[in-house]
Assembly symmetry: C2
Amino acid sequence: MSPETQATFRALADPTRRAILQTLTAGERTIAEVAGDFDMTRAAVKKHLTVLSDGGLITVTPRGRERLNRLNPKGFAPVRDWLSFFDQFWDDRLDALKTAIEEDDTHD
Amino acid sequence: MSPETQATFRALADPTRRAILQTLTAGERTIAEVAGDFDMTRAAVKKHLTVLSDGGLITVTPRGRERLNRLNPKGFAPVRDWLSFFDQFWDDRLDALKTAIEEDDTHD
DNA sequence: CTTATATGATACTTTTTGGTATCATGTAAA
DNA sequence: TTTACATGATACCAAAAAGTATCATATAAG
Protein backbone atom coordinates (compact mmCIF):
# COMPACT_ATOMS: atom_id res chain seq x y z
CA MET A 1 0.00 0.00 0.00
CA SER A 2 1.21 3.50 -0.68
CA PRO A 3 2.59 5.47 2.26
CA GLU A 4 0.26 8.22 1.04
CA THR A 5 -2.74 6.00 1.71
CA GLN A 6 -1.48 5.15 5.17
CA ALA A 7 -0.97 8.83 6.02
CA THR A 8 -4.51 9.58 4.89
CA PHE A 9 -6.16 6.83 6.91
CA ARG A 10 -4.00 7.71 9.86
CA ALA A 11 -5.14 11.32 9.67
CA LEU A 12 -8.80 10.30 9.64
CA ALA A 13 -8.50 8.07 12.69
CA ASP A 14 -8.73 10.94 15.18
CA PRO A 15 -12.12 12.50 15.96
CA THR A 16 -10.64 15.97 16.46
CA ARG A 17 -9.05 15.85 13.03
CA ARG A 18 -12.29 14.76 11.39
CA ALA A 19 -14.05 17.61 13.18
CA ILE A 20 -11.43 20.06 11.92
CA LEU A 21 -12.09 18.93 8.36
CA GLN A 22 -15.77 19.61 8.85
CA THR A 23 -15.16 23.13 10.16
CA LEU A 24 -13.03 23.79 7.09
CA THR A 25 -16.02 23.15 4.83
CA ALA A 26 -17.10 26.65 5.91
CA GLY A 27 -13.98 28.06 4.30
CA GLU A 28 -10.29 28.61 4.88
CA ARG A 29 -9.11 29.23 8.43
CA THR A 30 -5.87 30.30 10.11
CA ILE A 31 -4.36 28.04 12.75
CA ALA A 32 -5.56 30.34 15.53
CA GLU A 33 -9.08 30.39 14.11
CA VAL A 34 -9.26 26.61 13.95
CA ALA A 35 -7.86 26.39 17.47
CA GLY A 36 -10.64 28.66 18.67
CA ASP A 37 -13.17 25.93 17.96
CA PHE A 38 -11.51 23.33 20.14
CA ASP A 39 -10.82 22.94 23.81
CA MET A 40 -7.08 22.40 23.54
CA THR A 41 -3.98 24.48 23.03
CA ARG A 42 -3.08 26.04 19.72
CA ALA A 43 0.03 23.86 19.64
CA ALA A 44 -2.10 20.72 19.82
CA VAL A 45 -4.35 21.92 17.03
CA LYS A 46 -1.35 22.81 14.93
CA LYS A 47 -0.09 19.25 15.34
CA HIS A 48 -3.42 17.94 14.09
CA LEU A 49 -3.24 20.29 11.12
CA THR A 50 0.22 18.95 10.32
CA VAL A 51 -1.09 15.38 10.36
CA LEU A 52 -3.98 16.41 8.11
CA SER A 53 -1.52 18.09 5.77
CA ASP A 54 0.73 15.01 5.74
CA GLY A 55 -2.33 12.98 4.81
CA GLY A 56 -3.04 15.34 1.93
CA LEU A 57 -6.45 16.25 3.31
CA ILE A 58 -5.70 19.96 3.62
CA THR A 59 -3.37 22.46 2.01
CA VAL A 60 -1.58 25.16 3.95
CA THR A 61 -0.66 28.48 2.34
CA PRO A 62 1.18 31.29 4.07
CA ARG A 63 -0.42 34.72 4.03
CA GLY A 64 1.81 37.17 5.81
CA ARG A 65 2.47 35.83 9.26
CA GLU A 66 -0.59 33.59 9.06
CA ARG A 67 -1.16 30.18 7.57
CA LEU A 68 -4.37 29.51 5.73
CA ASN A 69 -5.65 25.97 6.06
CA ARG A 70 -8.18 24.74 3.54
CA LEU A 71 -9.68 21.45 2.46
CA ASN A 72 -7.99 19.54 -0.35
CA PRO A 73 -10.71 17.58 -2.15
CA LYS A 74 -8.16 15.46 -4.02
CA GLY A 75 -6.76 14.25 -0.72
CA PHE A 76 -9.84 12.15 -0.12
CA ALA A 77 -9.17 10.02 -3.20
CA PRO A 78 -7.10 7.33 -1.46
CA VAL A 79 -10.01 6.57 0.85
CA ARG A 80 -12.52 6.57 -1.96
CA ASP A 81 -10.29 4.31 -4.04
CA TRP A 82 -9.75 1.93 -1.18
CA LEU A 83 -13.48 1.70 -0.55
CA SER A 84 -14.17 1.15 -4.23
CA PHE A 85 -12.08 -2.01 -4.13
CA PHE A 86 -14.59 -3.53 -1.74
CA ASP A 87 -17.54 -2.11 -3.62
CA GLN A 88 -16.24 -3.81 -6.73
CA PHE A 89 -15.79 -7.01 -4.78
CA TRP A 90 -19.36 -6.94 -3.55
CA ASP A 91 -20.74 -6.03 -6.95
CA ASP A 92 -18.94 -9.03 -8.41
CA ARG A 93 -20.32 -11.31 -5.74
CA LEU A 94 -23.80 -10.03 -6.42
CA ASP A 95 -23.39 -10.64 -10.13
CA ALA A 96 -22.16 -14.15 -9.45
CA LEU A 97 -25.17 -14.79 -7.26
CA LYS A 98 -27.54 -13.55 -9.94
CA THR A 99 -25.84 -15.70 -12.55
CA ALA A 100 -25.99 -18.72 -10.29
CA ILE A 101 -29.71 -18.25 -9.77
CA GLU A 102 -30.39 -17.77 -13.46
CA GLU A 103 -28.43 -20.87 -14.38
CA ASP A 104 -29.98 -22.94 -11.62
CA ASP A 105 -32.24 -25.56 -13.24
CA THR A 106 -33.66 -26.71 -9.93
CA HIS A 107 -35.77 -23.63 -9.36
CA ASP A 108 -39.39 -23.96 -10.53
CA MET B 1 -20.07 11.81 16.03
CA SER B 2 -21.25 8.32 16.79
CA PRO B 3 -18.89 6.08 18.75
CA GLU B 4 -19.59 3.56 16.02
CA THR B 5 -18.04 5.86 13.45
CA GLN B 6 -15.01 6.40 15.61
CA ALA B 7 -14.50 2.66 16.07
CA THR B 8 -14.71 2.16 12.32
CA PHE B 9 -12.19 4.85 11.43
CA ARG B 10 -9.94 3.65 14.21
CA ALA B 11 -10.03 0.13 12.82
CA LEU B 12 -9.04 1.33 9.36
CA ALA B 13 -6.05 3.30 10.58
CA ASP B 14 -3.74 0.30 10.81
CA PRO B 15 -2.20 -1.15 7.61
CA THR B 16 -2.28 -4.71 8.94
CA ARG B 17 -5.99 -4.44 9.60
CA ARG B 18 -6.70 -3.06 6.14
CA ALA B 19 -4.67 -5.95 4.71
CA ILE B 20 -6.70 -8.44 6.77
CA LEU B 21 -9.89 -7.02 5.29
CA GLN B 22 -8.52 -7.57 1.83
CA THR B 23 -7.59 -11.19 2.52
CA LEU B 24 -11.15 -11.74 3.75
CA THR B 25 -12.50 -10.79 0.33
CA ALA B 26 -11.37 -14.30 -0.65
CA GLY B 27 -13.81 -15.76 1.85
CA GLU B 28 -14.25 -16.54 5.51
CA ARG B 29 -11.17 -17.44 7.53
CA THR B 30 -10.43 -18.77 11.01
CA ILE B 31 -8.16 -16.78 13.27
CA ALA B 32 -5.30 -19.22 12.68
CA GLU B 33 -5.76 -19.01 8.92
CA VAL B 34 -5.66 -15.22 8.94
CA ALA B 35 -2.61 -15.30 11.20
CA GLY B 36 -0.88 -17.56 8.66
CA ASP B 37 -0.76 -14.67 6.21
CA PHE B 38 1.07 -12.29 8.55
CA ASP B 39 4.45 -12.21 10.17
CA MET B 40 3.25 -11.81 13.73
CA THR B 41 1.83 -13.98 16.47
CA ARG B 42 -1.69 -15.34 16.39
CA ALA B 43 -2.45 -13.30 19.51
CA ALA B 44 -1.54 -10.08 17.72
CA VAL B 45 -3.71 -10.99 14.74
CA LYS B 46 -6.56 -11.85 17.05
CA LYS B 47 -6.30 -8.39 18.61
CA HIS B 48 -6.56 -6.84 15.17
CA LEU B 49 -9.60 -8.99 14.44
CA THR B 50 -11.19 -7.76 17.66
CA VAL B 51 -10.62 -4.14 16.63
CA LEU B 52 -12.11 -4.88 13.21
CA SER B 53 -15.09 -6.50 14.88
CA ASP B 54 -15.52 -3.53 17.23
CA GLY B 55 -15.53 -1.31 14.17
CA GLY B 56 -18.25 -3.43 12.60
CA LEU B 57 -16.09 -4.28 9.62
CA ILE B 58 -16.17 -8.03 10.18
CA THR B 59 -18.47 -10.50 11.86
CA VAL B 60 -17.21 -13.42 13.91
CA THR B 61 -19.20 -16.65 14.16
CA PRO B 62 -18.15 -19.68 16.20
CA ARG B 63 -17.97 -23.02 14.41
CA GLY B 64 -16.98 -25.72 16.83
CA ARG B 65 -13.75 -24.66 18.44
CA GLU B 66 -13.01 -22.25 15.61
CA ARG B 67 -14.12 -18.67 14.90
CA LEU B 68 -15.02 -17.75 11.37
CA ASN B 69 -14.16 -14.19 10.46
CA ARG B 70 -15.88 -12.66 7.48
CA LEU B 71 -16.35 -9.23 5.95
CA ASN B 72 -19.38 -7.22 6.98
CA PRO B 73 -20.30 -5.01 4.01
CA LYS B 74 -22.64 -2.92 6.14
CA GLY B 75 -19.77 -1.99 8.42
CA PHE B 76 -18.29 0.21 5.73
CA ALA B 77 -21.32 2.49 5.72
CA PRO B 78 -20.03 4.98 8.34
CA VAL B 79 -17.00 5.70 6.18
CA ARG B 80 -19.06 6.01 3.04
CA ASP B 81 -21.53 8.30 4.78
CA TRP B 82 -18.79 10.45 6.21
CA LEU B 83 -17.19 10.82 2.78
CA SER B 84 -20.52 11.63 1.18
CA PHE B 85 -20.83 14.66 3.46
CA PHE B 86 -17.79 16.16 1.76
CA ASP B 87 -18.89 15.02 -1.68
CA GLN B 88 -22.15 16.84 -1.15
CA PHE B 89 -20.26 19.88 0.02
CA TRP B 90 -18.12 19.93 -3.08
CA ASP B 91 -21.07 19.31 -5.37
CA ASP B 92 -22.81 22.33 -3.85
CA ARG B 93 -19.75 24.49 -4.30
CA LEU B 94 -19.50 23.43 -7.94
CA ASP B 95 -23.17 24.25 -8.49
CA ALA B 96 -22.67 27.65 -6.88
CA LEU B 97 -19.71 28.30 -9.15
CA LYS B 98 -21.70 27.37 -12.24
CA THR B 99 -24.57 29.59 -11.18
CA ALA B 100 -22.21 32.46 -10.51
CA ILE B 101 -20.70 32.17 -13.96
CA GLU B 102 -24.07 31.96 -15.66
CA GLU B 103 -25.34 35.01 -13.83
CA ASP B 104 -22.18 37.01 -14.40
CA ASP B 105 -22.96 39.87 -16.81
CA THR B 106 -19.34 40.91 -17.13
CA HIS B 107 -18.28 37.98 -19.26
CA ASP B 108 -18.30 38.72 -23.00
C1' DC C 1 12.55 51.20 15.79
C1' DT C 2 9.57 49.03 19.04
C1' DT C 3 5.86 46.31 20.19
C1' DA C 4 2.28 43.00 19.50
C1' DT C 5 0.89 38.86 17.39
C1' DA C 6 0.79 34.48 14.60
C1' DT C 7 3.34 30.78 14.03
C1' DG C 8 7.57 27.43 14.47
C1' DA C 9 10.13 24.40 17.31
C1' DT C 10 11.59 21.79 21.09
C1' DA C 11 11.29 19.17 25.27
C1' DC C 12 8.54 16.66 28.28
C1' DT C 13 4.44 13.84 30.20
C1' DT C 14 0.63 10.71 29.81
C1' DT C 15 -2.18 7.56 27.31
C1' DT C 16 -2.97 4.49 23.63
C1' DT C 17 -1.51 1.12 20.62
C1' DG C 18 0.80 -2.88 18.58
C1' DG C 19 3.15 -6.61 19.93
C1' DT C 20 4.92 -10.83 22.75
C1' DA C 21 4.71 -14.51 26.12
C1' DT C 22 2.20 -17.47 28.96
C1' DC C 23 -1.41 -20.02 30.77
C1' DA C 24 -6.45 -21.27 30.97
C1' DT C 25 -10.52 -23.12 28.62
C1' DG C 26 -13.44 -25.41 25.43
C1' DT C 27 -14.09 -28.65 21.74
C1' DA C 28 -12.64 -32.48 18.49
C1' DA C 29 -10.58 -36.80 17.95
C1' DA C 30 -8.44 -41.15 19.33
C1' DT D 1 -11.34 -40.61 29.10
C1' DT D 2 -7.22 -38.81 27.29
C1' DT D 3 -4.98 -36.07 24.11
C1' DA D 4 -4.52 -32.56 20.70
C1' DC D 5 -5.62 -28.22 19.07
C1' DA D 6 -8.05 -23.56 18.36
C1' DT D 7 -9.07 -19.93 20.88
C1' DG D 8 -9.61 -16.78 25.26
C1' DA D 9 -7.41 -14.07 28.67
C1' DT D 10 -3.99 -11.81 31.22
C1' DA D 11 0.26 -9.51 32.15
C1' DC D 12 3.84 -7.13 30.38
C1' DC D 13 6.89 -4.19 27.13
C1' DA D 14 8.11 -0.74 23.65
C1' DA D 15 6.83 2.62 20.46
C1' DA D 16 3.71 5.97 18.84
C1' DA D 17 0.34 9.43 19.60
C1' DA D 18 -2.01 13.29 21.95
C1' DG D 19 -1.35 16.94 24.66
C1' DT D 20 1.06 20.85 27.42
C1' DA D 21 4.50 24.35 28.37
C1' DT D 22 8.00 27.23 26.88
C1' DC D 23 10.86 29.83 24.02
C1' DA D 24 12.37 31.43 19.33
C1' DT D 25 11.26 33.74 14.97
C1' DA D 26 8.95 36.32 11.55
C1' DT D 27 5.74 39.78 10.20
C1' DA D 28 2.26 43.54 11.02
C1' DA D 29 1.26 47.79 13.34
C1' DG D 30 2.30 51.92 16.10
